[in-house]
């Protein structure tokens, strides 16, 4: 049986706005299983991104506990969380967030060198990964402003997986891409997952959710639905789509 890689217990996250407390996540219990491609869905404002950032140690919860493997991280300071994230989490953002003043290769290595020592093997790994996601050698010395949205996001994915994180977190990774580029990016996620990478991805896009092995539905700060699917490509697309659509309709999506 696959083991749990991440677990929460009565997780809460509140924001104070003009003196009024807004409870976005309420007593949430969830378990992320190693090797799963977990997609979190929900209506706008349901707290998807908030949950993602809390799970990934980007943000601290207001209450509750988070186990990352055997480590409880909810009481970590910001710097402790940063150090923790280095070796355990990879991130792909909707706006990509490449470092504007660094080349493609340097963007990838900036993520890697905070964890690993510089070595020819590391550089080779970065270059191999870039090639694998379709970023050709002639683009490695280019700056982010010289890349298309899809290319930039592919570089973002390489930067996120270069350290072999325990979980790859992604927040609407195709949100700003056209459909062709979006598909390319999703194909990369699928391939990365098939190589054994645990993924937690937030989206409200059906096409993206179809790549998942597990879909969690979030409403009013809690998980109200948990839908499991086979690994993408192992079942017919039509069947997969129908099952997911039915689940989402049931959830009121």
């Amino acid at each position: 049986m696959a083991s749990s890689v991440l677990r929460t217990e009565k997780l809460c996250k509140s924001f104070s706005n003009g003196g009024v407390q807004q409870h976005v996540i309420k007593n949430l219990d969830v378990e992320i299983i190693e090797g799963d491609f977990t997609v979190i869905m929900g209506a706008s404002g349901s707290g998807k991104s908030t949950l993602l950032y809390a799970l990934s140690g980007m943000d601290k919860p207001s209450m509750g506990k988070i186990w990352f493997g055997d480590t409880q991280i909810q009481d970590f300071s910001n710097d402790e969380l940063a150090v923790f994230r280095r070796g355990n989490c990879g991130f792909v953002f909707q706006s990509v967030y490449l470092l504007e003043n660094q080349t493609v290769l340097d963007n990838v290595l900036t993520g890697a060198l905070i964890v690993q020592k510089n070595s020819p093997e590391l550089v080779k790994k970065a270059k191999d990964l870039l090639k694998k996601v379709g970023i050709a050698e002639e683009m490695w010395k280019k700056y982010p402003n010289q890349l298309s949205g899809g290319e930039a996001q592919r570089v973002g994915i390489v930067r996120a997986i270069i350290n072999d994180p325990k979980i790859l977190f992604a927040d609407e990774p195709t949100g700003q891409l056209n459909s062709a580029s979006g598909k390319d990016v999703l194909d990369i996620f699928t391939e990365v997952h098939k190589n054994g990478q645990s993924i937690v991805l937030v989206t409200h896009d059906l096409k993206t959710a179809l790549r998942a092995t597990r879909v969690l539905y979030l409403r009013d700060g809690g998980i109200v639905g948990d839908h499991r699917m086979a690994v993408y490509g192992e079942e017919e697309e039509k069947t997969r789509r129908a099952s997911l659509t039915a689940f989402l309709e049931e959830m009121g999506w």
């Binding site: 950032y53 910001n78 991130f91 003043n101 993520g111 905070i114 550089v123």
Partner: protein
């Protein structure tokens, strides 16, 4: 529309409070410093003139040793020079006579003693603080001192004022202080008024190499040429009077009293230039940052129809408000501390300084600095026009990178934080130029301050070390009949004596073609000299070689290899300059010869002085006591009746010895035998018991003249160092804060990648290190150069460079800058990754 622009200004002011406060602080310091300079530079001039005018003093006085004076000298003044109202008086001239200071220490002053009658021929004798008249009448030895003794030396009315001469004490009681025109400073002379009785006693007692009675002529003349007058007097007297006459005049004493203050004003100006440069750089940095930060807002305003000039106004208003506040505060502060500065000037000059607000100077400084700030801000804010709406809305072209990848991480083997810091540094070299310039300027001030502080940290001994003469010695003047070599050998056998060498001392010669006579310093072998260090060339070795002071070399354009002709009693000899030395002795006019070199010029010279160096831990006064105990005191002490005998025979011997001492000391007698018959009894004796004529040491005068300068300069340097360090701290804080603000987005991404706040703070601080290290290195060179320039220009001397102090200061400066940058980057902690990701 204006309302909208003003709102943008106020928004910027409110948003970047720390930067704005920094600019207010810098402008305030600049205006305050400049105001102090503007207010007080003039004050220094006027304070001296006002004090001089109040004293009612004549502007000139010429003195001649009593036995050299001729009535014709006065006639020359009146008839040849057409000077009216010349008056004449007597005074006792003293050169470095010891006095017990107000705190009991022994110091030495150059003084003249005179009576009230003579004093009133010179000036109005304007009395200030004084004892009640009836108390003064009861005093057995009243004395009136120039007010400098009250302001600077800490004496009060009714205090004892004790003159020490050859081990004997002459106590006076201070009846009061008076405001004097001439003779009110350590560097030249003090003028002390005695009762008629005390004056007569002093005149009878003292006639030595350091104290003699003179006739002085007092007069006013707008363009009196002393050198020419002395030549006329020499012609009448058929001898060179330059060694036995002196000239005192208002302009010279004014320079003496105010020169150090003017140097301080120069230093303050230097610091205000540092702050001004730092302020302007900060404004430049901030405007550039603000424009980049608000690029999209600028684009929107331009799209709405605002002209770029109108948008520039927003930035201008910001600096009018910030700079204006700083200027007003600075001017206000300057006005507020003006009384304290006036008082400090009074203390440094030893004069009463009338208080003034200095409103005009402060206003000029405030307006000038505000004008500069506004013009600079206007020029910088003008760059808004480089961003048309389309460019501005796309956040300008600057956010796009196309250039060469400097230091690619692929090849970098160093720590990632250091590597990224270096990348950031090389990727933004242009903005480093400003920091570099500021560090060089501030670093130069810090290095110069540290070197000067180090020089003075041990007090007056630092200054004494550049005197260019062996000052920590006791000169023993022997009697003419003494075998000086044997005496020297005996001195060397004493445990209190480390070294004893025969020298000539206190001899003066003329330098042909120069208006400045020269005191001669001689050594048999200059390897014995301990505090004379040639700046160029070498010591004289042969009898036709000479070494001269830097100021003479500079003023008279004489260098190594040139010839100098010295003249003594009509005999002229040629000498070749072999070395140039920094020396404070007699204003740097001294010349250095070998003993034989001097004997070439003065063929009758007799070597009677033994320069005695105390053993380790022995003080000069202890050495004097030990020599007295060993050799039996000086003829001066005996002649002044110091001996206190108990029995009849001893009293007779003491009286006889006193007579002998007077004969030996004052009449050049070499041998005396005596026999006194009392009834059948005969008491006999001779002069062979006397060996030493008198002592002389520099210690007291060096301490008197140099201690106040050393203490003041040391304190000034310390405060200046703290201030410049504060300026550097403010500057780096602002730059770092601005950097954090501008790079908020990038720093957020880096945090997302797992870089901790500490990593990012380290990167940011390290980013400035190359420019800070380079700036410090250049500042070190500039600091050494400024130090050399300062000492050379101000005192015509060269000070030793303490490499350890420079290295430590450099390291401290670099570490300080790093620490300030690191701590200022602490704002990074507040950057929230999620806030950035969800914005």
């Amino acid at each position: 529309m204006e309302h909208k622009i003003l709102r943008l200004s106020l928004f910027n002011l409110k948003k970047n409070k720390r930067e704005v406060l920094g600019i207010v602080f810098m402008t305030m310091i600049t205006v305050m410093m400049l105001s102090i300079v503007l207010i007080n530079s003039r004050k220094i001039d006027t304070a001296y003139d006002e004090s001089f005018a109040r004293s009612g003093s004549v502007t000139r006085a010429v003195q001649f040793k009593m036995d050299k004076y001729r009535n014709a000298f006065r006639t020359i003044l009146e008839e040849q020079y057409g000077i009216e109202n010349v008056s004449e008086g007597r005074w006792i001239y003293t050169n470095m006579v010891d006095v017990r200071s107000s705190d009991g220490d022994i110091v030495a002053y150059n003084m003249v003693f005179l009576t009230e009658k003579t004093e009133r021929k010179i000036e109005a004798f304007r009395k200030l603080d004084q004892l009640p008249a009836e108390e003064i009448d009861r005093l057995s030895h009243p004395i009136w001192l120039p007010v400098a003794f009250q302001i600077v030396k800490g004496y009060d009315v009714g205090d004892d004022f004790v003159v020490l001469k050859n081990g004997k004490e002459y106590p006076f009681t201070i009846a009061g202080f008076y405001e004097t025109g001439l003779m009110n400073n350590d560097g030249w002379q003090y003028k002390l008024v005695l009762s008629e009785e005390d004056y007569t006693l002093f005149a009878m007692l003292f006639d030595s190499s350091s104290m003699w009675e003179c006739i002085a002529l007092f007069f006013d003349s707008p363009d009196f040429a002393y050198d020419r007058y002395l030549e006329d007097c020499n012609a009448v007297a058929s001898e060179n009077l330059s060694y036995t006459s002196s000239y005192y005049y208002k302009e010279g004493e004014k320079i003496n009293e105010t020169s150090f203050l003017k140097i301080f004003m120069m230093m303050i100006t230097g610091i205000s230039v540092v702050t001004l440069i730092a302020s302007l750089f900060m404004i430049r940095h901030k405007i550039t940052g603000d424009i980049e930060d608000q690029m999209q807002q600028i684009g929107v305003l331009e799209a709405l129809g605002y002209r770029s000039a109108e948008i520039s106004l927003a930035y201008l208003f910001e600096y009018v408000i910030a700079g204006g506040s700083g200027a007003i505060l600075g001017a206000g502060l300057a006005i507020l501390i003006t009384p304290a500065v006036n008082s400090a000037i009074g203390i440094m000059m030893g004069r009463i300084v009338s208080e003034s607000t200095g409103m005009g100077g402060a206003l000029i400084a405030a307006v000038a600095i505000l004008f500069l700030v506004v013009v600079f801000a206007l020029l910088k804010a003008g760059q808004v026009k480089n961003y048309p709406p389309v460019v501005a809305l796309r956040k300008g072209i600057k956010t796009h990178h196309f250039g060469k990848n400097i230091l690619p991480l692929e090849k970098m083997r160093m720590n990632i934080n250091a590597g990224l810091a270096l990348k950031a540094f090389f990727g933004n070299l242009r903005s480093s130029a400003g920091i570099f310039f500021c560090i060089v300027t501030a670093g130069t001030a810090i290095l110069f301050g540290a070197m000067t502080y180090d020089f003075f940290k041990a007090g007056w001994t630092g200054f004494a070390s550049i005197m260019g003469t062996d000052w920590d010695v006791l000169k023993v003047y022997t009697l003419g009949n003494v075998d000086v070599d044997a005496f020297r050998e005996e001195l060397l056998s004493m445990p209190e004596v480390r070294k004893a060498i025969k020298v000539y001392s206190g001899e003066h010669v003329s330098v042909k073609g120069s208006s400045k006579n020269a005191e001669v310093i001689t050594f048999g072998d200059y390897a014995d000299a301990e505090n004379i260090h040639p700046y160029q060339g070498r010591f004289p070795k042969y009898d036709n070689e000479i070494m001269i002071g830097m100021s003479r070399s500079r003023d008279e354009h004489v260098g190594i290899g040139d010839s100098i002709v010295l003249e003594y009693n009509g005999l002229e000899k040629n000498y070749i300059v072999t070395g140039i030395v920094g020396t404070l002795q007699n204003g740097g006019t001294v010349v250095f010869l070998t003993n034989e070199g001097y004997e070439r010029l003065n063929i009758f010279a007799e070597q009677t002085v033994v320069q005695t160096y105390p053993a380790e831990g022995v003080k000069i006064r202890e050495l004097e006591d030990a020599i007295n105990a060993h050799f039996g005191g000086t003829t001066k002490a005996a002649a002044e009746g110091e001996t206190q005998a108990a029995g009849r025979d001893e009293r007779i011997r003491a009286a006889a010895e006193e007579k002998i001492a007077v004969l030996l000391n004052q009449y050049g007698v070499t041998d005396v035998d005596y026999a006194v018959q009392i009834g059948d009894e005969m008491i006999t004796g001779n002069s062979r018991g006397f060996v030493i004529r008198e002592y002389f040491s520099y210690e007291g005068i060096v301490k008197t003249q140099m201690l106040p300068i050393a203490e003041t300069t040391k304190s000034f340097c310390l405060y200046a160092l703290i201030l410049v360090a504060a300026i550097v701290a403010v500057l780096i804080t602002i730059i770092t804060s601005n950097d954090v603000r501008r790079q908020r987005h990038t720093l957020g991404i880096m945090k997302g990648l797992g870089y901790s706040s500490k990593d990012l703070m380290l990167q940011l601080a390290l980013k400035y290190m190359p420019v800070i290290i380079c700036g410090t290195m250049i500042a070190t060179m500039c600091g050494i150069w400024v130090n050399k320039l300062f000492w050379g220009f101000s005192f015509a001397v060269v000070t030793k460079i303490n490499v350890a102090v420079i290295v430590i200061t450099d390291l401290l400066l670099i570490v300080f800058c790093f620490a300030v940058a690191y701590l200022s980057a602490g704002r990074i902690r507040k950057i929230s990754v999620t806030e950035l990701m969800t914005e």
